[in-house]
């Protein structure tokens, strides 16, 4: 008798355990290899850890049921769980590219403002006396909290890197006139949009407010003679001076490009607000 007596096992419990442990493993994998940041905002990660614990606990409690026979097993509902699980393991996460959203376009002005003004309101109560321009790495952490308050002492040169990208973006969009002529250095990828002029492109980064599903490109308009030679999605370090122009019926800041350098993709392409 070599036949497997499947009915002697509770297939329901077995499948449930497999799925729960599977999800726990997948979550574990993304949390500890830091792939999780390609999927969700870092602030979700503690909740993901909670899920791992919950999945494992439920699976442990189910263990007792595995040998309790129950004949009726409808596979279909479990397939719904297994498919995303297999997909999650075999199809690696891919960072966004501009073509994924190019059609919708970056609503550089409106969307960003509405997003960041909301943050503005929340941040205000955290008023702090010691304010510094987000210039050096050391002050960056504080800067994220404090940069919203007015007035920021006008720095000689604005450097927009991972941590200061959104803070500065909001600041520049809210008062473009104040920074006219200021030197700026920005890192981002080349993003093109139909309604831009021939000598215009956007140095953009993807902003993830919550998860990949809501990622959107945000960035600064650039004016550069050699725009046509730039390839979309290449990462650049752009240096130039700020000006302002009309775009989409609004005053927006733009960079008069002085120097363009190719640069490597940063390890994490997303920037996270809040």
């Amino acid at each position: 008798m070599q036949q497997i007596k499947l009915w002697a096992l509770n297939m329901d419990a077995v499948l449930r355990m497999v799925i729960l442990v599977g999800f726990a493993l997948f979550f574990f994998d993304i949390v500890f290899t830091e792939k999780a940041q390609l999927y969700v905002h870092p602030r979700i990660i503690p909740y993901v850890k909670f899920s791992i614990a919950a999945f494992i606990m439920i699976a442990l409690f189910l263990m007792g049921d595995v040998f309790k026979t129950r004949r009726k097993t409808n596979l279909l509902p479990y397939l719904i769980f297994i498919i995303p699980l297999i997909a999650a393991f075999f199809i690696p996460a891919r960072p966004m590219e501009s073509k994924d959203i190019s059609a919708v376009g970056i609503n550089i002005s409106q969307k960003l403002s509405s997003n960041l003004t909301a943050m503005d309101e929340e941040m205000r109560p955290l008023e702090d006396e010691s304010m510094m321009a987000p210039e050096t790495e050391d002050t960056v952490e504080e800067a994220v909290d404090d940069a919203k308050q007015t007035p920021i002492p006008k720095p000689e040169k604005i450097a927009m890197d991972e941590k200061t990208f959104l803070t500065w973006l909001e600041e520049l969009y809210s008062k473009p006139e104040e920074y006219m002529g200021t030197k700026i250095e920005i890192k981002g990828f080349v993003f093109r949009q139909k309604d831009l002029g021939k000598d215009q492109f956007i140095t953009a980064r993807f902003m993830m407010s919550c998860c990949t599903a809501d990622a959107q490109a945000v960035g600064l308009l650039c004016k550069y003679e050699g725009t046509s030679k730039l390839k979309s999605d290449t990462w650049l370090k752009v240096t130039g001076r700020l000006g302002k122009t009309m775009y989409g019926g609004q005053q927006v800041p733009f960079i008069n490009v002085e120097k363009i350098e190719k640069t490597d993709k940063p390890q994490n392409e997303y920037v996270y607000p809040y």
Partner: protein, 538 residues
């Protein structure tokens, strides 16, 4: 040795023995050796003609002499049958049979071939309402349910019975006969499971097929990948992107759905229904306030609320208040509010508006039901017994458990609910990821223009996606890139109140007419209130 075990279950007088007689008559034509194990002495006896046959042996068990694994094993060793037919009383649970068959020897030598459940239509209601769990368990485990004496009841009642059985056991076959004597012809036709071999290996077959398809698919996929882009320009990046978006929605929604099922399980296990009912005063107006408040105090999400609300109506809570509770609880639920705040960081007003608008709609619908009351009962009968399909709450013993056993029950119940609810979330996330990545964005743009169309689009999306309210804010968040806040609010207000998965549940509990009416009122009020909100207040 491979002994087939057929179980025939049913109450006294449901015609089990008659059925077995019919099977045996037919069986005796073939060359099988059959052992009949009767766990009950009924009115009918096995026919003489059957018993004198050389290959049929009959054994009787009862209260004083329960069927044990040992005695069954002895019988099998002694008589070497091809088939054992177990006649099981309706009062005893399937678990008794399973326990016996789990014996080491029996596990090797037998396989459960079929379970047939005999139901007497004229007494079905009484049994379902009073005998509860074992009876329901028998139905949930059977391959075929035979409804007899169908001639004795009205057509509507009969439909209700059928629906009830389908609600308990989706995959069983139904056979209707007028009198137990009709079995013979049914058996002759080869309809009964005793005749037709229904393999229990079906499960593994299906599983193998699925695995095979998956492996084969992956093989083709890797070949394509290996051939590279020069031979076949296949662009997987879209698929990859979709999967990333899909997984990201799941990753952030799962924690909240888990919190939701844990809270609901704790309520289910630790809180008696009576305490919820006592919460509702008899005064109609005051009960509205209670309905809204109780949503905060008993945090259930939209996936679990419908059976709870139905239970309330049955326990005497006025229908308008119960409807208000059903619609508002999934929105004022603290977990839902928390997840909304999380999904829209830095913008707590979103959560605030969501709660206010949700309450406005819930109260309006409740008032409407109060002002235009329904005639007669709106609830289909007797469904509260198995409102929880998790299979753990069905057994009354769980309610009496203490301490650690209760904790165990909470976890098991949470697990069951996670699987019950999670599939709708996964399907919702999948459709939403597909819409985001695959659909041309210009197309979406068309729907997001104006003030009426985007709101209607979002409301329909909420209805179709059926995402649990504890996590729908995250999906709603992803729409804000294309839709205005007012229409996204439509998604978040309507979604918890009514969607496909809830509609399916509503139809299982309430009368059709009432459900359709309710859906229209909810849609109408939501649209009116949200339209007013997005045009005048935003």
């Amino acid at each position: 040795m491979n002994v087939k075990v057929d179980v025939v279950a049913g109450f006294l007088g449901s015609g089990k023995t008659t059925l077995i007689n019919s099977i045996l008559k037919r069986r005796s034509l073939s060359q099988e050796r059959v052992v009949v194990v009767q766990c009950e002495q009924g009115e009918e006896a096995l026919e003489e003609r059957v018993l004198v046959s050389q290959s049929i042996f009959c054994f009787q068990y009862g209260k004083e002499k329960p069927l044990t694994a040992r005695s069954l094993a002895d019988i099998i060793k002694k008589y070497q049958p091809d088939r054992v037919i177990v006649e099981l009383n309706g009062m005893s649970g399937m678990d008794e049979v399973y326990e016996v068959l789990e014996d080491k020897f029996l596990r090797k030598s037998c396989r459960l071939n079929s379970v047939t459940c005999l139901l007497d239509c004229s007494t079905f209601d009484i049994y379902v309402n009073n005998l509860g769990t074992n009876f329901i368990h028998q139905i949930s485990e059977c391959d075929m349910a035979i409804l007899n004496r169908s001639g004795n009841i009205s057509g509507e009642k009969f439909d209700n019975i059928k629906r009830t059985i389908k609600a308990i056991n989706k995959s069983c076959e139904l056979l209707t006969v007028d009198t137990p004597e009709d079995y013979e012809s049914a058996v002759e036709d080869g309809i009964l499971p005793g005749i037709r071999e229904k393999g229990t290996y079906k499960i593994i077959d299906k599983f193998l097929t699925v695995t095979f398809v998956a492996v084969f698919g992956y093989l083709i996929f890797s070949i394509y990948r290996a051939l590279g882009s020069n031979t076949l320009e296949l662009d997987f990046s879209g698929l990859q992107m979709m999967n990333t978006v899909f997984a990201s929605i799941l990753i952030q929604a799962f924690p909240f759905i888990l919190i939701g099922v844990f809270v609901s399980s704790i309520l289910q296990i630790f809180l008696k229904e009576e305490s919820i009912v006592r919460f509702f005063p008899k005064n109609k107006m005051v009960s509205f306030a209670a309905a809204v408040l109780s949503g905060v105090i008993f945090p259930v999400c939209d996936c679990a609320i419908i059976p709870v609300a139905a239970r309330l109506v049955k326990k005497g809570v006025p229908l308008p208040a119960a409807v208000t509770f059903m619609l508002s609880a999934p929105i004022v639920n603290p977990i839902v509010i928390a997840s909304t705040v999380y999904a829209f960081p830095g913008d707590p007003s979103v959560a605030f508006y969501r709660v206010c608008l949700g309450l406005a709609v819930a109260l309006s619908v409740g008032l409407f039901v109060l002002l235009y009351p329904e005639r007669g009962s709106v609830i289909l009968y007797g469904l509260d017994k198995f409102s929880c399909k998790c299979g753990y709450c069905n057994t009354e013993e769980y309610a009496n458990r203490r301490g650690l056993r209760r904790v165990e029950a909470v976890f098991k119940h949470a697990g069951a609910e996670f699987f019950d609810v999670g599939k709708f979330l996964i399907a919702g996330a999948f459709i939403s990821a597909m819409v985001q990545v695959m659909l041309p964005k210009e197309w979406m743009g068309e729907f997001s223009k104006g003030s009426v169309l985007p709101l209607v689009t979002m409301m329909i999306a909420a209805f179709v996606l059926s995402v649990c309210s504890t996590s729908d804010a995250f999906i709603a968040r992803s729409f804000t890139t294309q839709f205005s806040m007012g229409s996204v609010m439509g998604f978040m207000v309507l979604g918890p109140m009514i969607d496909i998965k809830n509609l399916l549940m509503l139809f299982g509990i309430y009368k059709k007419r009432f459900v359709i009416k309710l859906v229209f009122i909810i849609f109408g009020f939501s649209f009116a209130i949200l339209y007013f909100f997005s045009n005048l207040l935003l």
